[in-house]
């Protein structure tokens, strides 16, 4: 009996270690082989607008409210791109922060008005329980995000 328990524990441990080393998959399987650098997307957004892209990078933020988006760090400093998924379709855990991700989806490019930026800023401030000053919004701003379908986190 003791041997059986020990063997079961060893098997469970081996499976846990094995599984934790594997990438955790979310949503549909990735289909693209070649990734696009985030800096390239920012350099020529119109080239990738409406197209499916695969992006790799560190997860630098996660939607705390519903796990419905990731912020992926760029290959270039001071740059991130948002990977947005439909609420409930994929739920990213907060514990994914700091891990590396491969995300795939369609690139959305839109010009946000001041009012839209203020609304988004207020929503983010509420979610993060941090202050937001609408006066920091000055003029329309280009918004670039990937509408997500598939992700792997490791």
């Amino acid at each position: 009996m003791t041997r059986l328990v020990a063997a079961s524990l060893a098997l469970a441990l081996a499976l846990t270690v094995g599984l934790s080393a594997q990438a955790k998959k979310y949503g549909k399987p990735l289909t693209l082989k070649d990734s696009t650098k985030v800096s390239e997307i920012y350099a020529s957004p119109d080239k990738y607008k409406g197209k499916k892209v695969l992006v790799e990078g560190p997860i630098v933020d996660v939607c705390a409210e519903a796990g419905c988006w990731l912020a992926i760090g760029s290959d270039k400093e001071f740059q991130t791109i948002r990977f947005k998924v439909d609420d409930g379709v994929i739920v990213f855990p907060m514990s994914a922060k700091g891990l590396n991700a491969k995300v795939e989806g369609v690139l959305e490019v839109a010009m946000l008005s001041e009012a839209e930026q203020i609304a988004a800023g207020n929503e983010m401030a509420k979610e993060k329980k941090m202050p937001f000053d609408p006066k920091t919004v000055k003029g329309p701003k280009l918004s670039i995000q990937i509408k997500g379908e598939a992700a792997e986190v490791k």
Partner: protein, 185 residues
Amino acid sequence: MKLHKLNVILHRDVGYLAFALTIVYGISGLAVNHRADWNPSITQTKTTMAIAPVTETERDAIVKDALAKLGLTATPRNVFRPDPATLRIFYENLTYSVDLPTGKVVIDRTTPRPVLKEFNDLHLNAPKGVWTWIADVYALSLILLAITGLFVLKGKNGLTGRGAWLTTIGVLLPSAYWIYHLYLE
């Protein structure tokens, strides 16, 4: 076997099987219903501390200096600079945001809520895969429970008596609210 007896047995046994998940989904339902006001799966705590300003200019040197000043010896999962003045250092469920010129540090710690996180993950089908099928079977069993439940009792407390009134109220409540929501709210 008589149809009524079969219905009662079905209602009873499926009810036993669905008991645990109904509790899980019910508790999680209450929790996620109010997620605009709180995070039902994790607790987030922010604390602050101060270190000496980080004056290095190269990325690697900045990271090394910040880690030393924070007294952190473990290798972080990742580091990232969202802007020239900020360094974020990531560990599991722990993020240090260092304001480099001032040395002000915000430590963001997330802790899963025991039990509730697991309940919510199951309810929101976070695991996907096989769980999707289990949740589908559970949903079908709830439909079965609702239908068989209508015919458990006979007589004045059954569907031809008191049951009819209560069932009608149960149908009218969501219908009336939805009409209100669509046209009056």
